[in-house]
Every structure is written in C-alpha cells, then in structure tokens.
Amino acid sequence: MDVAVLGIGFCGSFPKSEGLSYRELIRRAAVMAYNDAGIEASQLEGAVSCEEDFVSGYSISDEYVPDQLGVQKKSVYTICGDLLHGLSSSVMQLKTGQFKLIAVSSYSKASNILTKNEVLNFAYDPVWNRFDVTPNYLAGIEMQQFVEKSKYSADDVAQVVSDSKAKGLSNSQAPYGANLSASDVLNARSVASPVTEPMIARPSDGAVVFVLGTEETAIKKARKPVFISGTGWSSGNSIIERRDHATSPGTANAAKMAFAEAGISNPNKDLDGIYVSDLYAHRCLMHLDAMEIEGGLNGKINPDGGSLSNGDLIEANGGARLYDAIAQLRDEAGSHQLSSPKRVAVQGWRGLPTDSCSVVVVDRERRIQS
C-alpha cells in the first residue's frame, strides 16, 4: 500500500507571531495543506498532532487540537514527539487499512513561552539530573565528548553554523540566515563549553500541516503528491548517565529501519537530499555520523539552512525540514532548490535531554507497487 503526502502547509518561521493566535497560526497552515491536496477539511477522517503539554501551555494539550484543523468529532490523537514521529504513526494507521485520509500537524509558539529554560530544565530527571545551572549543560557535555571522540573538531562544529546560516540567506522563510564566520562562532559567548551561543538554534514560531492518503483517486487529485517509502524511529537511553554522549544511537537505529524499508543500501549514493536536526550545531554532525553520511555538511544537506537558520520550532522541527524536502522533490524550493532530487531523507531529533530520533524517506515517484 502506498502512502502519499498529498498536501503540505507551513506558516512560519517567525521570531514572533503576535498577530496570530496559535489557533489562527495552525489554521493557516491547515487550509494551505488542504488546498494543496485538493480536499476540504470535512473529507479527513482524523488527524495526528505532535506536541507536549508544557510547550502548549496546557495540562492536556490534545484538547485543543481538532478545531483549527477542522477535524472536530473525528479520529484525532496526539503523539508526544517530533512531527516525524507522528507522521510515522499515521503511516501505520493508514496501513491498517481502516483509514484513508488523515492530517498530521505540529506547531510552535515558542515566543509565548516566557521561561523556556525552565521548561527544558523540567524535562530532566528530578532525582538525578535537574541542576540549578542551565539545562544546556548536557549539550556542553555532548559536544565536548563528540569533538574528543569523533573525527570532527570544534572548528568543524563552528563551520556548520557558518555554512547553515549562509544557506539560510537563500531561503526567504528563514529568519536567522546570516553571514557569520567559524571564528565568529567560536569566539562568541560561551553557554556551556564548548557550546557557544550561535551554536544553539534560536526559538521560532510556526505551524506545519501535512495531508496523508492512500487512495488512488486522492493521489490523482492532489497537485503534486510525493511518496513515503520508509519510516524509522528509535530512542537512546533516557537514563542519561548510561548513554554515550558522543553518538546518537536513536538516529542510527531509526535510519537503519527507514533505509531498510526504503531499500537504501548506500545513503551517500541513494539520497539526493538529506535533512538532519541541528538544534545544536554538533548534533548536525553527530546525526550525519549516525546515518553513515560521509563528508559532513555538504550542499545537499539541510539546503534550507536547517534549524540554525529557520529557528527551533520545537516539535515542528522535523515537519519544517520535511516541508522543504517535499518542496525540493516538487522542484518548488526557489533559490535553494537542489537539482531535481528524486529521493530525500529527513531526520528529526526531539532535542535535549533526549536521544529520540526519527527518519523518514520521501520519493518523487512511487517505489512500492501496490
């Protein structure tokens, strides 16, 4: 059974979005995705939202999902994960044969969270890991171990920031694109050594919605469908004392699973575009390592400038990258368009303190014959 992305919608990224309530922000992305898929909200059988309570500001955030997606009374649930986790869940849901058309969504109103560090600190284990210092301490420990144990240096990490921000300058949706040299990055204010301020993606607001479907008639009706040929997700140990902080087993396992499903034996050759989470610059290289991608950040990796240019959209990060990946497959990515990519992989990471990652492979043409 083919699962196709029939429509995509994205409203973002903005450092602030004070003219739109979170409902209005999400609804804008939803209408865009539904128009793109050639459907009305009423045709959807349900939706999967990807969010967490303390980010949404509610004790039970999933209450507030259906209205702005136009799916109230439908089969709606929330995955507490990156959009790519929710997308993987919705692919399974469709493949049960009991559903044919669903939406997947996520959003960030990061600018409305006044105490972001406090929220992150609250994610650490209260008995062992919640200190009275910046919750970014784990990023410092990760990067310190990564540059000590991997083939990459702190200079390489700083170069990721420089290159990503430069890429962002050719992406009109990226608010944080800039000209910044590697030495500017290294000499910037230290937050948790060796992590400096520009190595951390800045917060952003935005909403992203996808329409997924399986029926041939729907696929024919969609403007430019693309096909999901592999999904994988995995989590490293939540007991951070027993995790190797120089690697991302979550990514390695997720990639293995997604690549096997998509029939990818050599990701360096078989993929025309690759997106990885770079919420912290060292994570960009760590994730590429875990996916066995050689040569660090080259032209076909994060062509949109990644989170370092687009900002941290929290659980919508993987969705923002996927949105750009699909635009690339449709040859609609504008000035940062890759040359006719056929197959793209997108990796997502949930951020600190996790190593929960997912990988999705999308294709311009269908690979699996139904």
Binding site: S59, D62, K73, G81
Partner: protein, 731 residues
C-alpha cells in the same frame, strides 16, 4: 475484522498495585508492570519489536516530556518507542496505538505501557486541572476538573431524570467488584446511603461519587495472529477499535450525551462487524472516574441519546456482576483506583483476563465471548473504545492471574513523601499567549462591557468566544463581529465547596459555576461563568440570568471584567439585539497577549533505588545495583535493569563502589543558571564514571581552576545528607 492486514492478539499483562502515593519512581512503576507482562507472555525484552507508552498529563508526574523520562522503565531503550496522548482517554487508546503498530504489518509485536504517578503534584494533583481550560477565556475563573464534572453531571441528571441515589448505585457496584481485584486501592462493600452521606464537594458530586487519585502502572503485550496462535496460552483478540475527539469549545455542545463516545463505538462496531452490539457484547468496562460517568458512557456505547435503555438496565440490576450486562467487573476506577492512563489499560487487561478465564474471583459466571472497554478524557471531549474477542473454547491453563493476591503485586504505598528521602521543586513556567484577531476583539469587548461573538457566513452560527474561522465549516474565514445581549439562560451548573486546588472553601462558602447560553446566539452556544446574588438552592437549569460588569475603570480586557451573572429581574431589558461591530485592527500596540502559568509545586520521592543511594551517600558510601542477567553494576542505581527488564534488588544486592575512585568522562563549564540568567561565577558540571560500574553520576565539580579540568581526571564524590541532584558534588 474485514480490511486489516493483521489480526492483533493480547498475549500477556502485568500491573502494579494502585496506591495513593508510591515509593517507586515513575520509571520503576512502569518497569514492574513491564517485567510481569513479559513474563506473562513468555517473552523477554529482546523479543519485543516496538514499545508504545500511554500516560496522561506531564503535570502529574512533574516531568516535562515524561514519555521520554519513561523510556528506560518501559523497556524502550534503543527501540522504536513513542508516546501517544488523548488525556484521560489515553489508557484505552494505548492498545489502539499498539494495534496500529502490529495491524499495519510494520511490527510483529508491541509492548504497551501505561504509567501515572499523580502524587508528586502538591498540595493536590487536582491543581493540575486548572490548566486544562482555555488559558485566555476560562482559566481566569479558577476552574478545576471537579467543576466541569459536576456541571456535566447536573446536565446529565436534568436530561435523563436521574436522582443522586440512583447514580450512587454505580459506585456501590464498582467498589464491591473491586474486592476481587488484586490491584485495588479503595475496594469495599458499601451502600447508597454511605455514598449519599459522604462529604459534598461540588453539588451534585460527593466524595464517594469519585475515583481517587492514584499512582500505578499497567503493561500488556500485543502480537500478530501468527505469534498469538503459536503462543501456548489462550489469547484474546482486538477486533474493533474507535477513537473520536470533539471540539475544545465544550460550552458549545449539550454535555448530557457523549456523541464522541457513540461515534467511537460505532467505528469499533463496524470494524468488529457487530450488528447488535448490546446482544453481542457480554460485559462492559466503560470509564468510571465518577459514578454517573459510567452511565453517561453506556448511553454512548449503546448509541442511545434517549438514555432509556441504560436507566432500565441500572434500575433492574442488570449491571451487577451476575446481571445480564455486567458493568465494570474489574471494579473500575471507582474501586481499583484511577492512575488515569493506567486505569484505561487496566480495563483492557480485564477484558483479557475475563475472556481467557483468568479473572479469578472476578470471573463472570456466564460464558463470555466478547467484551468492550472505553475511556474518556479532555474537556468532556474524547472517547476511545476497544472490543476484544475470545478464541472460542480456549481457556488459560495458567493459574497465575486467577490466584493473584494483593501482596503478589509490586508497588509500595507510602503514607507521606516525607517518609523517605524526597526532593522539592518549584518550576517557574510562565507564558504570554498571543490573542490574535478574534480573541483580541473578544477581550476588547469585555473591556467595553460587552459579550462579543462572531458569525460564520456559512452555517450562520453566532459563536462565542469570537472565532476567526468556523471549526464546523471547513475552517471558513469569519469576519463579522457582534456585540450580543448580556443575558442568557442556565444550561447546567454546580454549587461548589472546593477551590481549583481541591482545598475546601470553608465557612459554608459556595461558588456557583454555570454554563450560560447567551441570548442572540443559538442552542448550545454559551460560556462558563460565576453566578451570584442568588441563594444556591434556588438555582435551576433554565433560569434566566444577566451579566453584572465590574466598574469600567477596573476592567482589563479579561473575561473577569464580567464580574458574574445574576438572576434576570423583571426590570431588565430583554429586547436587545446583536449589533455589528468593527473588529480590532492589529498593530504592534493593539495585538495583545494574555498571561498564563503552570501554578504547581512538586515533591518527588527518590524512588526505591534512589532512596537507598541517597541514604548511603549520607554516610559517604556509593552504591550501585547489580543485574545478574547481564552481570552489570548500574549507577545511578535503578530498581530494574533497562537492558534486561528485570527487577533488581537495590537494597539486598546493592554493590558498594569506591566514591573516591571517580574518573571524569565528560565535562562542561556553564555560565547560566537554570532560568538562563548569568551565574555569578562559572560552574563545572561533570559526568563521572567509577570502576566496576556501568553508567556514571552527573554532578558539580568544586574546583579553583575550571580550565584544568580534563577527561580522565580523578575525582571523589562527596558525602551529602541532602537528597537531590544539587547535592551531587565532586572534588
């Protein structure tokens, strides 16, 4: 099941006792349930392809992204793991999410875990429910879950003509059934009088109408048909699933009938190919956090908006254990307890036990072929339904669950968190929510002493709160705003003796909250607000009321600018018509945001292994726990091995390590405090390994010269009498 790729069976279950306050940390509770479920299924964690976790609000356990926190305890390390969430409906959605994993053909099996630790939330977990309400349009009223339940219960009684005594019968049935359940927290032989005489909390809700707050965990193992068939024990199959989520605008519908449950049940019936569910289903496990809720949900499961059949069944005794329609044979949330998500999964476990003849003292006398479980949650909004089917004639030969007693189940009840080392924590979580076009216009209305709505050009509904789009008309843009009459009619109400944090108001004080249908809108379009200037005993559904506004100078652009509603007087004008108004033009001055916060504090027990560790550290000792399966000593100590998913004896098999022989494996120099403010002087955070142990300890390093810190450097863990991460100090 006609169209699915694979039929999915339940092949094992495990659970902890449900207790008010557990000594175990959240992960330890989950791990206990997982170990039992794997054992019951005859599998080890290595056999498991995927793990999914169901747990309700993070605000209970007091951990942001608590699904992540629970990975190790759920057996999810280095596996495909994800957490699903539909509020209180989560527990019955858990097997549905697991079913997706297996029915899709993606995985051969899936471990499903549901954990809830409500007790860390102080002074009372009920406080977590203030923030389930809309942050801008409802939270300023200081509502809690008890209020919305009472409001729904009142509407339910009004519509279907139940007395409080009749509803109390459900509580009696459940608490009695729970006497046979090994996990039960508040099982007892009781009667209607006792329920009626229990303290009145928020009329019509009394103490014994409600399930307790609880800590607990449940796990089950799902497998595809091939594995299930090969399995030695009798399986039960998931043959129908359904889940539906209604609008968050809960004052925009009649609360008496749960259409979302009826629709979810309809989906499940279609999938399970049931044409006459009432006849074809042999027992019922509707969600019963409150006694009326079980009946409310039964109306949905029987898809009967008239409610006649369910009332008939209740009054005729059909819901008793030996009746024709056994209701909550497990004992339900009212008897077994209510660690929210774990309760739903406990009901799924009950279907499995009953259908495979493993329910022991609770086993229904009649032959059971099919059972249904349902959970509910959110703002009176979500219904999740699972139908399970027995394999004809196969009854489990295992006596394990049949003979299970309370003392056989894991889970340690504590009287007070202070009985063991604990950690206090106050998160400082604050927000400022962008109102956007519609809510800015709505709140500006309150400032002007007006209730302001917007009208959908398609369905012509006049909507409050004002919306920028219509959720019922394909997200149609809405541009027409109106000032409405400030009069209306009471749809339902509660007379409350408790505050949002569950504390009693005292001094005979009563807060009246009502859902008021506003004049100039249509049926079921209202808002929730306070009612005053009326004797509580005179409040009636159908009563006409009028808004009382604060003086203009005191208004701030909040729903509390409307001070309260009072009964309509003869002298009040009632011929006011909606008046079209210009919406607010948004610019950098007019675009406003509304403040929000999570007003909760936490007291965490250190967990079984953590208690031992911190007690030892007070004496200058460093101890880990030993796993004899993988020959590993774990630090920090855990009461389970996340690799083997077996329990570890953190007391008996504690392994002493040398606290002076630490080696730095990772470090960082930090310049900010936990809120992101600059520190007076940089701190060094280190990750330290110890010889002979797997794992490390994170802590602060006391050093004169941070620049000299290197990996491999020797450090010593300092003794500390205090418990918690900030007392893990190295030198």
């Amino acid at each position: 099941m006609s169209n699915s790729a694979n039929r999915v069976g339940v092949i094992g279950a495990g659970m902890t006792r449900f207790v008010r306050r557990a000594k175990e940390a959240p992960g330890e509770l989950a791990a206990k349930a997982v170990e039992m479920a794997l054992d019951d299924a005859g599998l080890t964690i290595n056999d498991i392809d995927a793990v999914c976790h169901g747990t309700a609000p993070d605000a209970f356990d007091g951990v942001h992204m608590k699904g992540e926190h629970l990975i190790a305890g759920s057996g999810g390390v280095n596996k495909p793991y994800s957490r699903h969430f539909v509020g209180g409906g989560t527990g019955v959605f858990s097997p549905i999410h697991g079913w997706m994993h297996v029915a899709s053909g993606k995985f051969k099996n899936c471990l499903i875990v549901a954990e809830e630790k409500m007790s860390p939330c102080v002074p009372h977990p009920a406080g977590a429910f203030l923030t389930i309400f809309d942050h801008t349009t409802e939270q300023p009223l200081n509502l809690t879950l008890l209020h919305i339940f009472a409001i729904e219960m009142c509407r339910f009684m009004h519509k279907y003509g139940y007395t409080e005594e009749e509803l109390a019968r459900v509580s009696v049935i459940c608490k009695k059934n729970a006497l046979g359940h090994p996990a039960a927290q508040i099982a007892k032989e009781t009667n209607v009088e006792e329920v009626m005489n229990s303290p009145l909390l928020s009329w019509p809700v009394k103490r014994l109408d409600i399930s307790p707050t609880s800590d607990g965990a449940v796990a089950i193992v799902l497998a595809n048909e091939e594995i299930t068939r090969k399995h030695c024990k009798a399986p039960a199959y998931i043959d129908g699933v359904g889940f539906r989520l209604d609008t968050a605008y809960w004052c925009t519908r009649d609360l008496a009938y749960p259409e979302y449950v009826a629709n979810a049940a309809g989906d499940a019936y279609r999938m399970a190919d049931l044409s006459n569910p009432e006849k074809e289903i042999d027992f019922w496990e509707p969600y019963d956090p409150f006694d009326y809720k079980a009946l409310h949900h039964m109306n949905g499961l029987l898809q009967d908006p008239t409610g006649k059949r369910v009332k008939e069944l209740l009054l005729s005794g059909a819901f008793e254990k030996d009746g024709s329609h056994p209701l909550c044979p497990s004992g339900g949330a009212l008897g077994v307890g209510n660690p929210i998500a774990a309760t739903g999964l406990m009901k799924i476990a009950e279907l499995y036990f009953q259908l495979t003849g493993q329910a022991g003292a609770r086993q229904l006398q009649k032959t059971v072929q099919r059972g249904i479980a349902q959970a509910w949650g959110d703002l009176m909004q979500v219904g999740t339904v699972v139908i399970m089917n027995a394999d004809k004639g196969t009854v489990s030969t295992s006596n394990k669950w049949k003979e299970m007693k309370k003392e056989d189940l894991p889970g340690t009840a504590l009287k007070s968190a202070k009985d063991v080392p604990f950690i206090d924590y106050q998160p400082d979580i604050r927000y400022s929510w962008d109102n956007g076009m519609a809510l800015t216009t709505y709140l500006e209305g309150f400032k002007a002493g007006k209730i302001r709505g917007s009208r959908c050009p398609s369905c012509k509904r006049m909507m409050i709160p004002a919306r920028a789009f219509c959720e019922e008309c394909n997200l149609k843009e809405v541009n027409d705003y109106f000032d409405l009459p400030d009069t209306g009619i009471i749809k339902t109400f509660t007379l409350s003796n408790v505050d949002w944090d569950s504390s009693m108001l005292g001094d005979g004080k009563v807060n009246i909250f009502a859902v008021i249908e506003i004049d100039g809108t249509q049926e079921n379009m209202g808002l929730v607000h306070r009612l005053m200037e009326v004797d509580p005993k005179d409040v009636k559904v159908g009563m006409r009321v009028k808004a009382v506004w604060k003086p203009e100078k005191e208004r701030t652009g909040s729903i509390t600018d409307l001070d309260y509603f009072r009964p309509l007087l003869k002298s009040d004008a009632t011929d006011v018509k909606p008046v079209r108004v210009k919406p607010v033009e948004l610019d950098s001055v007019t675009a406003k945001s509304f403040p929000g916060k999570i007003p909760l504090d936490y007291r965490y027990t250190a967990g079984v292994a953590g208690v031992k560790f911190y007690e030892d550290l007070a004496q200058g000792k460093l101890t880990g726990t030993e796993c004899s399966c993988c020959n590993t000593v774990h630090i920090p100590p855990t009461a389970f091995c996340e690799k083997c998913m077996v329990s570890l004896d953190s007391d008996g098999k504690a392994k002493e390590l040398d606290p002076d022989k630490g080696k730095i494996v990772g470090f960082t120099v930090v310049t900010e405090d936990r809120s992101g403010e600059p520190l007076a002087k940089p701190e060094v955070m280190v990750q330290v390994g110890f010889e002979g142990a797997t794992g490390t300890i994170f802590g602060k390093l006391e050093t004169e010269d941070p620049s000299k810190v290197k990996t491999g450097m020797g450090v010593a863990l300092q003794a500390s009498r205090e418990c918690g991460p900030n007392h893990l100090i190295f030198k």
